[in-house]
Assembly symmetry: C2
Homo-oligomer: 549 residues x 2
């Protein structure tokens, strides 16, 4: 069967001489456009100009139909081009007509649905109800919490005309909902009996970002935002910690991303929060991605909006609050954690297709037997709750299909040829182990052997992705004791971990001089006394510094 | 146990003398505000003025905490007040700070989630994939399809400022997505092999409505919008019909709403469609509610956006398209179809709580036994997949709880008192049959009897709600043969059904003179030759005329 296989995508890149030609041919121009810091709302003109310059730079779909053009920049060569190529080729997303916006295509959206299914169940288990707040917020609301307006006002999209008329007050298209949530909470909360109030919404949000990148930072994105109100600061703190813990488990167990959970520095805290907890993930280029946050808002918003309750002693008090969010950015994190030169590599638990079946035949009389066997294998796996698909199109060779589904990141491939039909067995290949090493022949088609075999392999892949990411992460964090060591680590593209008790201005100096920021003070801290890497003063905690998205 | 029961909510309304006092006291003022045709974007000032006029007109939650104030205007007395009272008292929704916007509260949102769960599965079964399009649409897109811009331009919300700067081109906050969908389809569709392309999105949409009403018509609402592209007009027509059929089955089988499915007249067709199919529901006040639509768009948008494909003969053709939607308006339809003077009445299949358990005890030594029995009954029902909740709060009497959960529309109530514990049985009361008639004593607590009993009763209630609504509908449709008869039927508040082949201008005359519009030409048509009720000319079809929301 190996003989049928076409040259793999990666082999196309092995000749350095062809790299420049390939570079011109590949598909990322439209997506690259998202990067421009052009402030105009819409770039359809620019788009037309670009597509008219060369026939080769048309839309992704067109390119996918010509085998020779389906190329992905090697990850090691240009991480950003590789990222954009994968998004275009695997049909995860496309750019919208308005600068910085993104269309999430079915394959990308299915990953989001898997994320939603898991988190939604966890939110309900931990006592939260879903609801929906309007996305239009009176401008005056945003101004009520001082640091909130400072943080968000440069990024707002404003509706000024409605139904053909200039509005009396501009409306903000929600960049986040703390203000409108508090406006409503103030009406619903009266006594301690109304607390805790714990809600969540799945929604779109808008932030007028100048430098955008699909999934990672877009003008509009999808997320969930949890909002809670409590009677005591202790309860709010427990809730904020509980939710960052839900996110951490999700990242490890579902996305196979070994995030580091911790607390943000004061400088990096959310605009309006008392404390921000975060999960930080290391991408394949060793930049950090803030993958989820949970904020202890203290009484900042309840004081700004007068959200009070009568406690058990009849006293009026302001509520203590939290908010927490994960967004479609997380999909970018999955791509950049697990992907390789061949394309996407999806953790089985979030993969829209866990198993792709490729039927293989040469002679017409082999066709029916092979296709029947493929269907029966599909039904067996489907009945066991496995997400499975057959690629039985006759316009493509098996080799093309192997490459295509590897590029789409499907964890397992099952090949069925005439000899497999005779022996009632299949060939199973792992996406995470390339070539013959990841291929096992002669797995029985019987449900009783095939189902446990496939489930075991999916579990193994899930663990193996986490293991690989964890080794990569750990080998790229350097413990540093001085600013010189920190600079050296960052210059090497690594994360620097070292004791920190210096000032905000010293933290900003590090950013200016190295491009790195404090990603977090991790929850897991080393034992023993520590001295601040910058000042030599005693330090309670180590911080992690890194460049980030 | 009856002795513990407080006066029901309805009994509060039986004395006409107290009606005026009650009217002043009841809770709908804030929601009523949604009705005002005030064009200003935000009415926080107005709101403050209203709440300062009387302590009694505060926010709903406050009112709910004082038993004497939890009143609902009788449906027969004032349908609109009744509707708004239910929404406030059952905590389905609240008004947002911006005029015409709505906050969907957890109990209302849970109904939406039940609608989503059912429809989402049906959409996938019928071959559609979910995805997500940006909500910001360049203004120029809206202008491309002539009748589309005419239909939507008065209702647009426009973003004119982003990131602190005036935008070069105004952005429309999506009122519907045909234009942006076609812009993207044009890039994805190349050959007949790319067809059919069948997608759906769950999203928020914005229409700058002047007269709003919670759920029924709000400035922002939630919906799903399906969009498909096909190679032939026949396929597009089949798809449009398939989806109105999915909606019809949903309405009958899940929502117990006996909608009438049919085709819209040309006058009432969606802006940009060739044909619009609709499901029309009769509300309790006998007004019609358009509860879902499916459009055959023909080539209108594909011509405007150049969405073409190469057919099997190598010819370039424009695709044939459909779009179809159901929104949170449907929740308004459920309320207005099944509710009664006591409050909401939810069809079991969409009820967030299907069974409420009310434990009843007087003496302290009865408490533990009763609560243990209640917990065990809850676990039994939950294990069987029934949505069940215990109301074990000690601040409320059982009678209060009976009224409260009846008002919330929960289909079945289980009462458990000390005598029931001794006899290992429970009392079961149906929401749809008031008083003793709907109450059955001595149902065994054993899982093997209780589970099938409860499931049977839920099924019976589901059928019974549909049956009641169907009788109501049928007794309020009058067959008419002349314009005089039509006017008489409409004057009586009924729907008029009669043969129609007159002109658009005659249709508009009916609207002007009677307030009724053609709701649809129903798919189910009487046999035999027909003469147009207006002109006496031959008519192929009967149409249904009614006043509508």
């Amino acid at each position: 069967m190996g003989a049928l296989r076409l040259p793999s995508l990666t082999s196309l890149f092995t000749s350095p001489s062809s790299a420049a030609a390939l570079h011109r041919r590949h598909l990322h121009l439209p997506l690259r456009r998202l990067y421009t810091a052009n402030c105009s709302a819409q770039s359809s003109t620019a788009e037309k100009e670009i597509s008219s310059t060369s026939e080769l730079e048309g839309p992704p779909k067109l390119k996918l139909q010509q085998d020779k053009d389906r190329v992905i920049t090697p990850r090691s060569q240009d991480f950003n081009s590789w990222y954009l190529d994968i998004i275009a080729n695997a049909e995860l997303a496309d750019y919208g007509p308005v600068r910085g916006t993104m269309v999430i295509r079915p394959y990308g959206y299915a990953i989001w649905e898997a994320i939603q299914d898991y988190l939604n169940a966890k939110f309900k288990e931990t006592g939260h109800s879903n609801m929906y707040f309007p996305q239009f917020i009176p401008y005056s609301f945003i101004e009520k919490e001082a640091s909130h307006v400072e943080g968000f006002s440069p990024e707002l999209a404003l509706v000024t005309i409605g139904g053909g008329k200039e509005l009396e007050e501009k409306l903000v298209v929600r960049p986040t909902s703390e203000t409108i949530v508090n406006h409503m909470f103030t009406q619903w909360i009266h006594s301690y009996r109304d607390l805790p109030l714990m809600i969540n919404q799945w929604a779109n949000v808008t932030r007028w970002e100048m430098r955008t990148k699909p999934f990672v930072r877009t003008l509009e994105f999808l997320w969930q935002e949890g909002h809670t109100a409590h009677a005591t600061p202790e309860e709010a703190e427990m809730e904020a910690l509980q939710m960052i813990d839900v996110y951490t488990k999700f990242a490890y167990e579902q996305a196979a991303i070994p995030v580091i959970a911790g607390r943000k520095s004061k400088v990096e805290t959310f605009a309006g929060a008392s404390k921000t907890y975060t999960i930080e993930a290391m991408m394949g280029d060793r930049k950090a991605l803030q993958a989820g946050t949970s904020h202890n808002l203290g009484q900042n918003f309840s004081r700004a909006f007068g959200t009070q309750f009568t406690d058990e002693n009849g006293q009026r008090e302001h509520v203590w609050q939290t908010s927490w969010a994960i967004s479609t950015r997380f999909i970018g994190g999955i791509i950049m954690t697990h992907g390789d030169d061949t394309g996407l590599m999806l953790p089985p638990k979030l993969a829209p297709v866990q198993v792709i079946i490729v039927p293989i035949w040469k002679k017409a009389d082999e066709r029916t037997g092979v296709l029947n066997a493929a269907s029966s294998v599909k039904e067996i796996l489907q009945a066991a709750g496995i997400k499975v698909k057959i690629d039985d199109s006759e316009q493509r060779t098996p080799g093309w299909k192997f490459n295509f589904w590897e590029m789409k990141g499907v964890p397992l491939r099952i090949e069925i040829g005439p000899r497999d039909v005779s022996s009632s067995s299949v060939v199973v290949s792992r996406r995470d182990i390339p070539g013959k090493q990841g291929k096992v022949f002669g797995i029985s088609m019987e449900s009783s052997s095939l189902v446990p075999y496939v489930k075991d392999k999916l579990d193994e892949i899930q663990s193996s992705l986490l293991g690989t990411a964890m080794s990569f992460r750990d080998s790229n964090i350097m413990d540093v004791c001085s600013y010189a060591e920190l600079k050296e680590a960052i210059a090497q593209g690594k994360w620097a971990r070292g004791p920190w008790s210096a000032s905000d201005s010293e933290e900003l100096k590090v950013k200016e001089e190295t491009g790195a920021t404090i990603r977090c003070f991790p929850f897991e801290q080393p034992q023993g006394t520590k001295k601040c890497l910058m000042t030599g003063n005693p330090a309670d905690e180590v911080a992690i510094f890194a460049k980030s998205y």
